[in-house]
């Protein structure tokens, strides 16, 4: 078991002929993920990575390949439409890696896909990894091993850091999910925490947050009231100045709220052990 992706995931890559799309398609295939097709408008009928069929539209790709998950690498100005397209084609789970999508686009996307019951992960996220089963995204496969720890994170590379630190001490992950650093995204901490709580393969959870918004505070409340499994937390941005966007569009302390201190306090009050730095996480999981 695992959450969201596994050996049965039939993955479609939107933007498969772009340089990032193709690079990571190869990495995913090498990892063992079933990449059943790719989409690049105008290039339908061709092939990517030798044996992956390219389609002009997600609709055609789904009809032909039976894809059940899509990953998006298309440029920011077209990415929102790509999400609409995947949702319209009946893809139930969409992972959007693209960074820099306007918030106005994402609000329209969210309000549209919510009514369709489609789950979106991201945008501006590293995707997710079920070690030993499927890699859907850009998390380097060799830094993680299978295990019983569920990881959910707003940050990409910080997640790698944690996976890497866990691997050093022989700890592995059931599924690792990067929810992305944008202010309006598809899936939040609570969504993933709930799945981990219900997942028999997950025994402990690592939740990585950062400054901005109130997602971590809400997650803390959820942990306190709904979760039985232990959670270890980390919040990035303790030294971040207010009013400045720390790279991620969502990582900003605004109007006095969203600081790391507030989030750490909320998590600790919910019984979460909060690490001082990422490499401290393995010891807190013991």
């Amino acid at each position: 078991m695992s959450i969201l992706v596994n050996k049965n995931t039939r993955l479609l890559v939107q933007g498969i002929t772009g340089s990032e799309g193709l690079f990571h398609t190869k990495q995913m295939v090498a990892y063992g993920t079933q990449v059943v097709g790719g989409v690049t408008p105008g290039k339908g009928g061709g092939w990517a990575n030798e044996n992956i069929p390219i389609f002009d539209s997600v609709k055609m790709a789904v009809e032909t390949t039976g894809a059940n998950t899509s990953i998006i690498f298309v440029p920011a100005r077209f990415a929102a439409d790509s999400i609409f397209e995947a949702a319209d084609a009946g893809i139930p789970f969409i992972v959007c890696i693209t960074e820099g999508i306007p918030v106005s686009d994402m609000m329209r996307v969210r309000n549209y896909i919510d009514q369709k019951g489609v789950r979106l992960l991201g945008p501006n996220c590293p995707g997710l990894l079920t070690p030993g089963e499927a890699k859907v995204g850009i998390i380097p496969g060799d830094i993680a091993i299978p295990g019983n720890i569920g990881i959910v994170s707003r940050s990409g590379t910080l997640t790698y850091e944690v996976l890497y630190a866990l691997k050093q001490v022989g700890m592995g992950s059931s599924t690792t999910v990067g929810i992305g650093g944008d202010p309006v995204n598809g899936t939040n901490h609570i969504d993933i925490l709930r799945m981990f709580e219900d997942d028999p393969k997950t025994d402990k959870i690592v939740m990585i947050g950062e400054i901005g918004g109130s997602d971590e505070e809400k997650a803390a409340e959820f942990i306190a009231t709904k979760m039985t499994k232990p959670v270890v937390g980390f919040i990035a941005g303790q030294t971040a100045p207010a009013g400045k966007r720390m790279g991620h569009a969502g990582a900003i302390i605004e109007g006095g709220s969203g600081s790391a201190a507030d989030k750490i306090r909320a998590l600790e009050n919910a019984g979460v052990k909060v690490a001082r730095h990422p490499e401290e996480i393995p010891s807190l999981l013991r």
Partner: protein
């Protein structure tokens, strides 16, 4: 990006929202001339991208053109919260019966635009939120549907606006909604929206924040950007698509990924050091970008050491290494450099850097501690 008051109000005016007669001036004599055209009784308003201009003395009412010139001279010589005043807006003075707050912004938790209004206008909305939260009326709008007349009436009723103004208010709100949408604004705000003593609704002050990610749709706005509030290194970084924020410490940081960059700053501090900057080279950074990033870090004379923490994912370790080598060849840095390289193509990257005379580290904590030591001159 932020727009100036005068830029925001010009946009509002195009969308049918009434604003005071007025023009922007760069010199006191221009301000005097505008005051003469407007009949003498004017407000001189500093155009800087910070709040609290009034308290800082950056807004003054002049009774005649000579006074306008005198105040403009004063204000154009000021710095407000560290920002020089380069322009003043000279607006016809209004006679105010009531001040209202009206703003539209993104509600990230609700995933929807939210309209906020308050009968307690004229002060900052965060202030109202603290002192009189019940005075702020909020309404979410479905972005696929847009704003409807009944929602405008709901808000008008919610702030107890007299009925005679409902229609005018509704038109202003719908105009502001179109502004917010057409410009992909993160905030479009009228504060105060005043009812004048002769019963007109006028947008006396305006503020717009534009989503930087949407600027590809608004090339004309990029030209309006006022970079006074940004450090020169931040402006330079933006040119290369880098996210750089200057801080006060002495350890330069170059990290890929915003979260990891913040965590790297945090761990430097935890290890007894002070970061000189936040720098996210982003996903899939090219060698050119990395070289630019290094030049920008080194342009800060405070920097005594550099920490490179690269965890490859969409970014490839070999590309980063090539960028570092190119930058070293060009800039010939004199400060010690600590590098930690893990993840996608990290092995290739480390091989490239093997002969570059850099301090290497395996873990982030080790890298941070070495960088702190290096900045203190304890490690080279």
């Amino acid at each position: 990006m932020k727009l100036h008051e005068y830029q925001s109000k010009q946009i509002f005016s195009k969308y049918g929202i009434k604003i005071p007669k007025g023009r922007v001036a760069s010199t006191a004599s221009e301000a005097k001339q505008i005051a003469e055209e407007l009949g003498g009784n004017v407000v001189i308003k500093s155009q800087v991208l910070v709040g609290g201009r009034g308290k800082a003395g950056g807004i003054k009412v002049a009774k005649n053109p000579d006074e306008a010139e005198q105040f403009a001279t004063q204000i154009l010589g000021m710095e407000i919260k560290g920002l020089p005043v380069r322009k003043v807006l000279v607006d016809e003075a209004a006679s105010i019966a009531q001040e209202i707050y009206l703003g539209i912004t993104n509600d990230r938790a609700a995933k929807k635009p939210v309209i906020m209004a308050s009968s307690a206008g004229g002060v900052e909305i965060e202030e109202v939120a603290k002192t009189n939260p019940e005075k702020i009326y909020k309404l979410h709008v479905n972005p696929l549907v847009g704003i409807k007349d009944y929602q405008a009436r709901d808000i008008a009723g919610g702030i107890n606006l007299p009925r005679e103004h409902w229609n005018a208010f509704s038109e202003i709100l719908k105009g502001l909604w179109r502004v917010y949408n057409d410009y992909d604004a993160e905030l479009a705000e009228i504060n105060p929206l005043v009812i004048t003593s002769d019963n007109h609704l006028v947008a006396l002050d305006g503020k717009m924040l534009i989503d930087d990610n949407s600027l590809f749709r608004h090339p004309e706005l990029s030209e309006m950007r006022d970079t006074d509030e940004d450090a020169p290194s931040e402006i330079e970084a933006r040119k290369f698509g880098l996210t750089f924020i200057k801080l006060d410490g002495n350890i330069g940081c170059m990290v890929n990924g915003a979260g990891l960059a913040m965590a790297s700053m945090d761990i430097l501090k935890l290890s007894g050091g002070e970061p000189a900057n936040f720098l996210d080279i982003g996903g899939g950074a090219s060698a050119e970008k990395v070289a630019a990033a290094m030049r920008i870090i080194l342009s800060d004379p405070n920097v005594k050491a550099i920490l490179f923490n690269i965890f490859g994912g969409i970014t490839r370790g070999d590309e980063v290494a090539r960028g570092i080598l190119a930058a070293i060849a060009e800039v010939k840095p004199k400060v010690p450099m600590v590098v930690r390289l893990v993840g996608t193509n990290a092995t290739e990257g480390r091989a490239l850097l093997a002969n570059a005379n850099m301090i290497t580290a395996e873990t982030l904590l080790e890298a941070a501690q070495k960088a702190v030591a290096a900045a203190k001159g304890e490690l080279k």
